[in-house]
């Protein structure tokens, strides 16, 4: 779907993405794919070399996680994810007037931290599937998921610090701050699952920590490595933070109404996990008959012993109530809102016009994606 076509959510699965305001003509979708591909092409060899440093069997477990080999150790060409972060880290260097290559260690460090969190979160959340494949703890056991996650986190810091410059120290500090927020966000996410009510503000704070912080870091880390001052880095982070919130709002829509073929997750994935995601929280806060009915159902679900065996229809009922109460529409609007704030933040930084247009196009992409 191109940003300039299609209505907002139509109510069918796979058509959930919010419409973005008129496309920014400077960069089209093909260019965004080229940017993502550049990020992947420049960062993957460095990422693979970093993972090769791990002692066995951690190198193998990590290679499985990244999709480079299958569960039996045979080479695979797995789905390594969208690679939005590496693309942002390279653009970040260019935003500071440095060549994109300057951002590579930052791109790889951010990817390592992102994947550290995926390994640990999948275990904590009991998620059995990611990117259409069994998760690491499912294939290699919980101990390896913990251990390899730890190793990727350490590797991220090592990679940056061995550059040995003052800039690399500043970049590592920003990455560490982002990682702490990421962990705070996961702690909030877990605690919210046990609570009956979560406010929209709490949910947004959690998502800002869990998704916004690392995306923000991706957008500043290349610039910092390229010698940008703190004010420039902070402004780029503001773009990344709001982009992260837009990204997460779309993720929350896909988590309920996404097409399993595209997302690689089960149908109604977030509902099955009792996730207090934005559409749910917004629907519960909306008031009105559908909101109240949803609240009653979810309260009963929390106490139910046979929740695990619920039929497709039962989840569909809950999804329909969320939509009727306005949770889906509110979340679509929230994605557009955050998208707009992100793009506005870019005005605060002097940068080559081409880079600005590319950052805008990436923001558009994040909001219209289907997976």
């Amino acid at each position: 779907m191109s940003p300039s076509t299609a209505p907002t959510s139509t109510g069918t699965r796979g058509e959930t993405v919010p419409t973005v305001p008129p496309a920014h003509p400077a960069v089209d979708t093909a260019d965004v794919y080229a940017l993502l591909e550049r990020g992947r092409a420049l960062s993957t060899p460095v990422l693979r070399a970093a993972v090769d440093r791990l002692a066995p069997p951690m190198d193998t477990v990590a290679a499985y996680h990244f999709g480079w080999i299958d569960a039996d150790g045979r080479p695979a060409d797995g789905d390594g994810g969208k690679a939005v972060r590496p693309a942002l880290a390279l653009l970040s260097a260019e935003a500071a007037g440095a060549p994109p290559e300057t951002g590579i260690p930052g791109a790889v460090a951010v990817e390592l931290v992102h994947n550290f969190s995926l390994l640990h979160d999948d275990l904590m959340d009991g998620d059995e599937q990611r990117r259409h494949r069994d998760t690491v703890w499912k294939v290699h056991g919980p101990a390896q998921a913990i251990l390899v996650g730890d190793a990727l986190f350490a590797l991220a810091n090592e990679l940056l610090l061995e550059i040995g410059t003052v800039e690399a120290g500043r970049a590592t500090r920003r990455l560490t701050t982002a990682t702490r927020k990421l962990i705070d966000g996961q702690a909030q996410d877990i605690s919210y699952e046990h609570r009956e009510r979560v406010t929209v503000e709490e949910c947004l704070e959690m998502e800002g920590n869990k998704t916004g912080a690392l995306l923000a870091c991706a957008v500043s880390i290349g610039a910092v490595l390229g010698g940008a001052d703190d004010r420039t880095a902070d402004t780029l982070e503001a773009y990344g933070h709001h982009l992260g919130l837009a990204f997460q709002a779309v993720d929350d829509l896909l988590g309920i109404w996404g097409d399993p073929e595209a997302t690689g997750k089960q149908t109604w994935s977030d509902l099955r996990q009792r996730k207090k995601s934005l559409p749910v929280v917004a629907a519960l806060a909306a008031g009105g008959p559908a909101s109240r009915r949803l609240g009653e159902l979810l309260a009963a679900d929390a106490k139910s012993n046979d929740f695990e065996t619920f039929s497709e229809e039962e989840f569909a009922t809950r999804a329909a109530l969320i939509e009727e109460a306005g949770g889906r529409e509110w979340t679509s609007q929230e994605a557009r809102r955050q998208h707009a704030v992100a793009i506005e933040a870019l005005d605060g930084v002097d940068m080559p016009e081409k880079v600005r247009a590319q950052l805008v196009a990436l923001a558009d992409f994040v909001v219209v994606r289907k997976r």
Copy 2:
């Protein structure tokens, strides 16, 4: 037991510690306790302030882990461990001619990394007790053990990097390298548990990673923060590395023959966990009838389904075979060997004589401790 008295292992539990060569008269045992107490007194407030930064409930879980509160959240005066590392980090600063206070952020960062590894290792190893109390995963669940471990690791880097100096960047890099080795060591430890035979060399390599690396870092980090050059830091690390190997050899003796009252662990703790620790590995490598009989028993144990219900006597039989094959004596000698190499390494660094004497006394203490 003072370093100058007592024979080597007598064969009774709690009397396992190897005798150290004639005491170094400049510093007596009381001074060592004063050094440990100074390390604790100067680092604990900073450690507590760091832990207070964690989002709830991680702050509470961490406070439980450190023994500051009990499982119900009531203030406690728990056993925070021996605190050898903070004492070393402060001495490390003094070795570089800086005031001990310069080492405080290093002491706290090393303690944070040490405790990150304890939280994760206890979960991976299924250990239910530490320092006479239920482990975090037992009380607060696996997810909190993972999450709070991650948070302590991030906090360690944050604490150092927010100092913002070139020295702090170098210190963080050394800490990151040590952490990577720590993780490598845990990976080796886990993989060895599934293998029938482990060589003495493999065991020493694993223990060098798991215990030597972070002790080495503790002994260099204060000096680096105090402006020491890399050669000085490397030499101090050599002392710390061998001290760590001596420390671990004693730990391995205590893990089989230690007094549960003193160690806070079960009787025959390492045997119950099928640990391929130094005494076991050395006994298996020794050859002779006791060694062969031990090999047969352990091979059968590995396949046994009722290993969990073994009686005290069955573990005592294995311990006696390890001793008869010479594993206990070899490990005692190894502790003394590493102790001597550690002290010799100190000759490579110019430092105040008082500091040198204190580092020697700490090495003596590590080798004669009962817990």
